[in-house]
């Protein structure tokens, strides 16, 4: 079961790569500007043996994971408050909606100023950008909780907090988890972009800036893209694993939907 899935994934990836190679080789996309995928892939492989590159990736991944973890905590806490404290929720939603569309890119100088170290700056940007999908999915999921289940809880005399903790949150959890996976992708994009746009002492993006210092190195940049994608893929797979373990009830119930 799981094996077929992996095999299919590999087939899919190969198909996409082959297609991209053909598109570039045939010049459908300007082949002078970007190198063929095979070249990029080769370069990605050689990069994996470069200790400087690996150190950069380690820096990036560290900031990413810490930022994501913080984002989950912050978003869940804010989500709980917004979803359960009525007098605070309406007014704070305005603030949330105001803050949400502000791009982290615009905040880079401010973040640089406010946070001493490079890593802190990156973490703060991830936190800012990655919280929103989790928060919004959570608010929608809280809305989607079966009222009969909540009533059942309430009828036994449990207070609003217990209802929240024991009914609303568990029932919202699977969708929040989807939000976390969305956020993971956004977080990686933000951290590498921030490194590329503002530099720093270490990280995948900084490695790419240095690599681009001689020009004509599009393949390195694209190889960086490949590695970012691979990291995203791995973390997504891990998160799905965790989800499947934690929400067995959910997946068992919904397994049949997709045929």
């Amino acid at each position: 079961m799981n094996r077929t899935r992996v095999i299919r994934g590999v087939i899919g990836a190969c198909a996409v790569l082959a297609l991209a190679e053909v598109v570039i080789r045939l010049g459908i996309i300007d082949s002078e500007v970007i190198p063929p995928i095979s070249v990029v892939l080769l370069r990605s492989v050689t990069l994996a043996g470069d200790p400087v590159f690996l150190a950069g990736v380690a820096d990036t991944v560290l900031a990413w994971l810490v930022g994501l973890a913080l984002a989950v905590v912050v978003a869940v806490v804010v989500g709980v408050v917004l979803g359960s404290v009525p007098w605070l929720s309406t007014p704070s939603r305005i603030v949330v909606e105001f803050l949400r569309p502000i791009p982290s890119v615009a905040l880079i100088p401010l973040a640089i100023l406010l946070f001493g170290s490079d890593t802190e700056m990156k973490i703060s940007l991830i936190l800012y950008a990655a919280s929103w999908p989790i928060l919004l999915n959570m608010l929608y999921a809280l809305q989607d909780v079966d009222p009969v289940a909540k009533d059942a809880m309430r009828s036994f005399g449990f207070g609003p907090l217990a209802v929240l903790w024991r009914v609303s949150l568990p029932s919202a959890a699977p969708f929040v988890a989807t939000g976390v996976r969305v956020a993971a992708g956004i977080g990686l994009v933000v951290v590498v972009s921030a490194e590329l746009l503002s530099g720093g002492t270490g990280g995948l993006g900084v490695f790419l800036i240095n690599a681009g210092s001689s020009g004509g190195n599009t393949d390195v940049m694209l190889a960086g893209a490949v590695w970012a994608g691979v990291l995203g893929l791995i973390v997504n797979a891990l998160l799905v694993r965790v989800e499947r373990g934690a929400f067995r009830w959910h997946f068992a119930r919904t397994e049949r939907t997709a045929r």
């Binding site: 079966d146 009533d151 059942a152 309430r154 036994f156 449990f158 959890a173 119930r253």
Partner: protein
Amino acid sequence: MLEIANLTHTYGSGEKAHRAIDGLELSVAEGELLCIVGPSGCGKSTLLRSIAGLIKPTGGKIEVGGVTVRQTPDNLAVVFQDYSRSLFPWMSVADNVAMPLRRRNMDRTQRMKVAQEALEQVGLPSASGKYPFELSGGMQQRVAIARALAYRPALMLMDEPFGSVDAQTREDLEDLVLQVRRSHQMTIVLITHDIDESVYVGDRVVVLSKAPSRVVGDLRVDLPGPRNQISTRENPEFVRLRAEVGRLVRGVQPAPVL
């Protein structure tokens, strides 16, 4: 125990307003088992939810144990008509049953023991480790009953609690409720569509009119206890009461369908 005065509830407003209950008066004594029967859609579940403080009726007053109901009264348990949605899908059956016991200052072992006992009482000794979706409809309904029974509330509200189980199990559950009520001094309000059942388990049967509902009949059931599925149902008084309730229910029916 339970005092309802001039209860009125209207769903929605403006054109779509629907008056479900209209000036309903009812009182239930401590330890009594009251059965409520009435046509489908008349407002029985609405009444139950009002007593449980789950909806705020638009008019009138409900007192439980002398206290006006604003939120859910303490020491209450409800078996919902929509039992399958009232179970928590992320918890095993045992956890579902044990959940309310957290309010009873029991440690986990105790809770699990009580839950297992309750599950055995409803005929599900081996369901504890399963998830609700792995059970049949009737089994889910019994889990909901077990959850309410294990909680040992002072006031138990049951909305068609035996609708999805077979005849034999139904009788067993009726007897179970009677027995638990006896041994734990519960007050029970039980909604049912089965007229025989209402007379068999009830100390009193209240018949509601079609919506907007009012009380159209209030019969005291004077049958010797403890009741017995065979002898009680053969008792002439039982037969008389059953016919009486039937007449009342039919009397309030809308024009026959078709």
